[in-house]
Symmetry: C2
Subunit: 230 residues, 2 copies
């Protein structure tokens, strides 16, 4: 039975946008594994595979794993002969630092930018209600108020990317000459943006933009299968 | 012949302060290697071992290596049976991201804080002249003007540490249960502060402070051999 990847979508099941789901898509391709995706709307997340409450969820035969990092760890253990996602135990642990950095540097910017409203607008009607209510409860204001000033905040966001930029000036991937799961962690965040909004947050001559294009080319262009938002 | 570590000092040869030298000290202990240190003042750096122009410089028999990361890589290759500094090739590459993050997050704050003047004041007279001239050329203003407002900048600096803080809430070291060179990279930056100034930049209940204490305890308390600045 093929591996199943439950991943988040809006009204168009062909446009998965969750950064965490994209991490897993690339991880599966990295391991050379075939999989089928199961599109899930926000209001369907709670009932995936008996109720993990989060996406992505992977089913591989009798095994069900949720959380992108846990899935990567599962794949590394279950398919040890395929190319490594971590390059050893040190890489596995330090990938957690990359995850922590990405989620505290890129995610807070994306989720308070115009991408927030774009995601809302891309959802089916019942999901829009859920999304607006849950997010507005967290932010304490309307989505449209959250995203105000994203253009002005872009310059500061760009500076926060300097640790990544500086690294990618010197090496092709976070993993060195070849990509590792750490690359997919950061890729997921930029792919999230690419799928939901045409807004270009990286200058075309930014080393991060070059790296992102390299990531889009990986594994038969897996990331390009979903066209950029227009 | 014992391994020699050329490391930067001020007027007191017993108080090495360079973050990069501290990374190497802990890396040497991690590998279980004995070494002798050679204290070098700023104005002596250019002539170490024929002129690398930087510290630290390691001499191991006929081999001379400069740059802390290159030294760690050398030690990993030359002493493969001792505990690993990287935990595999993935860990080696991702340690570069930790280095890039540390040098673009912690170093810019330290080097524009009161630590800058403390370092100056700790130097012997000829080094003070060199240090002031070279740094003021970079900053375009007097050292005393560079450090203005460090107390006010501390809150923002603290927020920039969130990716590290969040990680250390969940695991003992960047390397997981055991430290890796990635830990020593970040340790070096905080040890630099500890040796040059009594200023406490971390709250005592900060997970980063707990981790730093754990690092000070490592390898027979190598980091504690130099008392904190008073």
């Amino acid at each position: 039975m093929a591996i199943l990847l439950h991943e988040l979508v809006g009204s168009d099941p062909q446009r998965p946008f969750s950064p965490h789901c994209w991490k897993v898509r690339l991880a599966l391709r990295h391991k050379g594994l075939d999989f089928r995706t199961v599109p899930v709307p926000f209001t369907g997340v709670a009932s995936i595979e008996g109720g993990s409450g989060i996406v992505p969820v992977l089913r591989d035969g009798e095994t069900v794993v949720s959380d992108s990092f846990a899935i990567a760890e599962y794949l590394e253990t279950a398919y040890p002969d395929a190319p490594s996602l971590f390059g050893g135990e040190g890489g596995r642990h330090l990938s957690r630092f990359v995850e922590s950095w990405s989620q505290r540097t890129i995610h807070p910017f994306v989720s308070t930018s115009r991408a927030l409203v774009s995601i809302h607008d891309s959802l089916a009607a019942p999901d829009r209600v859920y999304f607006r209510q849950s997010r507005e409860k967290v932010f304490g204001k309307p989505l449209e108020a959250v995203i105000v000033g994203d253009e002005e905040r872009l310059a500061e966001f760009g500076k926060k990317l300097n640790p990544l930029r500086s690294l990618l000036e010197r090496q092709a991937f976070l993993g060195g000459d070849v990509p590792l799961f750490a690359d997919y962690i950061v890729f997921g965040a930029f792919q999230w943006l690419r799928v939901v909004t045409p807004w270009q947050v990286l200058a075309s001559d930014d080393p991060i933009a070059d790296w992102f294009e390299r990531c889009l080319d990986l594994h038969g262009g897996e990331g390009r299968q979903v066209p950029a938002a227009a």
